[in-house]
């Protein structure tokens, strides 16, 4: 679904991504993990066209990302704790986005029902709690029936019940053929969801493959321990 080929990106003199090549397979949930500053956020920004790579190429569904924004029509993005205009309701924000996209199809609000958002979807975002705003963010990310979901810490601020609803929904989306790229520091949660891991270190893809094979390779019982092994460095991985 997504191919990163020899992608480089620097901010000033600081190289954030260095010759990164990786693949995010279709219809699977890929956990994008790595230490702070490893380039996860930059990778997502490049994928969404919010930043431009200095070199290399990125393809989404076979279409190379260039100046044509149309490739983003298949992407649903849930940013981490975004502060959208406080005076707008979730429904108004969604309507604004639909107008901007030129979509004439009815948005899918089934997740709002699953969250039992009720009137909160029509209340100004500024008066909603952080968790409720996060639910609205999730609804907006899925409203335009994306084929690729990019989620940045999606359960941050959600209560356990809402987190369960979201995780169940993501599992159903994967079954329906949707590709999911997800970053989170809550690794047990990722283990529950992800069947593929892309581990970044120093701006490179230090590991990519099935969650099961990562655990096998490291000899770790859980994804959290396996990632801890990766964080300890490539030598630890070799030793395992």
């Amino acid at each position: 679904m997504i191919d990163f080929s020899a992608v480089t990106k620097s901010y000033g003199k600081r190289a954030v991504l260095a010759d990164l090549s990786a693949t995010v397979p279709e219809a699977r949930i890929t956990a994008l993990v790595g230490p702070n500053g490893s380039g996860k956020t930059t990778l997502i920004k490049l994928l969404l066209g919010l930043a431009r790579p200095d070199g290399g190429s990125i393809t989404v569904g076979g279409h190379r990302i260039d100046s044509d924004p149309e490739y983003r029509r298949v992407i649903g993005w849930m940013p981490q704790i975004a502060s959208f205009p406080g005076h707008q309701s979730g429904r108004q924000l969604l309507a604004s986005l639909a107008r901007l996209r030129g979509d004439d199809v009815e948005p899918d609000l089934s997740l709002a029902e699953e969250f039992d958002l009720g009137d909160n979807f029509d209340r100004p975002l500024g008066v909603l709690s952080g968790g409720t705003r996060q639910k609205v963010n999730a609804v907006i990310a899925m409203a335009f029936r994306p084929r690729l979901l990019v989620l940045d810490e999606p359960t941050a601020g959600l209560d356990p019940l809402a987190a369960r609803v979201l995780k169940d929904r993501l599992a159903r989306e994967r079954q329906a053929g949707v590709t999911v790229l997800i970053t989170s520091h809550v690794l047990p949660e990722l283990e529950e969801l992800a069947d593929h891991v892309l581990f970044l270190s120093d701006g490179r893809a230090a590991w990519q493959g099935d969650t099961a094979s990562l655990k096998r390779r490291t000899g770790a019982a859980t994804l959290e321990r396996a990632v801890a092994q990766l964080l300890a460095g490539p030598l630890a991985l070799e030793a395992a």
């Binding site: 969404l48 930043a51 983003r72 959208f84 901007l100 996209r101 008066v127």
Partner: protein
């Protein structure tokens, strides 16, 4: 839901327009007071013009920078949609510049209309002043976009905006005066004209003064400006430079937005 929070949110509802509306009311109130207190319309026009030249760049720069930083998350969300950056830029610029320009133009015109001073003062003069305010509003919004795009740190961006305003609207005249004094024994027309061209606030001030009797009140400088730029050619040159001041920052802002890593 907290009732106070709900009321506050409703009060914030037209937040995008609240700043410009308050500004229009403030400028209109100031204009009304100046019209009532001034002995004659020429003095009133000069005083209102001073208010416009000070307030407009300040509000445009500060409101514009603040608005863009406040909207960063929603701009990012817009950019993640299947729309071009150019479209998002035009949308942002339009929503910032047009309400501010309209608010200032209305704020300038309103006291002349309700005090029935439009005809006695001169319809052309008052409308020119309203247009000047609108032009400065548009320009300062565009400069605010450049500053907000250049500086990701909100405090730094606002500081640069304030420094830009201070230089253009307050300090520049002092700089021009110092240069004129230092070059007192040499022809100063060219350096003064170059310094005039370098500051759009001064450009607008001079264009307005040339259209009124107020230039006579500026003594030697006024006489020099009247003599040099009071001709049709001089005014055309001023108009062309002001047009460049609108076009070049706009191109720069669009280019910065196109290349910006959000």
């Amino acid at each position: 839901m907290n009732t106070i929070a709900a009321v506050r949110a409703r009060m914030q509802a037209p937040s995008a327009l609240r700043g410009p509306v308050l500004l229009a009311i403030g400028v209109a109130a100031a204009g009304d007071i100046l019209l009532r207190l001034s002995g004659d319309s020429a003095t009133a026009v000069a005083s209102i013009l001073d208010v416009v030249l000070i307030i407009t760049p300040l509000m445009g720069l500060v409101l514009g920078t603040s608005r863009l930083h406040h909207a960063r998350d929603v701009v990012t969300l817009m950019l993640a949609q299947p729309v071009s950056r150019r479209r998002v830029f035009v949308d942002l610029w339009w929503r910032g510049a047009v309400p501010l320009a309209a608010a200032l133009a209305i704020g300038v015109l309103a006291p002349f209309v309700w005090q029935r001073q439009l005809v006695p003062t001169g319809v052309t003069m008052v409308i020119s002043m309203a247009i000047a305010a609108a032009v400065l509003a548009v320009l300062s919004q565009t400069l605010a976009m450049i500053i907000a795009l250049r500086f990701d740190d909100r405090v730094k961006a606002l500081s640069v905006s304030l420094a830009t305003w201070l230089l253009a609207a307050v300090l520049w005249d002092g700089v021009v005066l110092v240069v004129a004094l230092l070059m007192a024994d040499r022809p100063i027309e060219l350096p003064v004209m170059m310094m005039l061209a370098a500051n759009p606030v001064d450009l607008v001030r001079v264009m307005m003064l040339l259209g009124s009797d107020a230039a006579a009140m500026l003594g030697y400088t006024g006489a020099m400006v009247s003599r040099t730029l009071g001709t049709v050619t001089g005014r055309a040159v001023l108009g062309s430079i002001l047009t460049l001041w609108l076009v070049i920052p706009m191109w720069w802002a669009a280019r910065s937005f196109q290349r910006k890593d959000f």
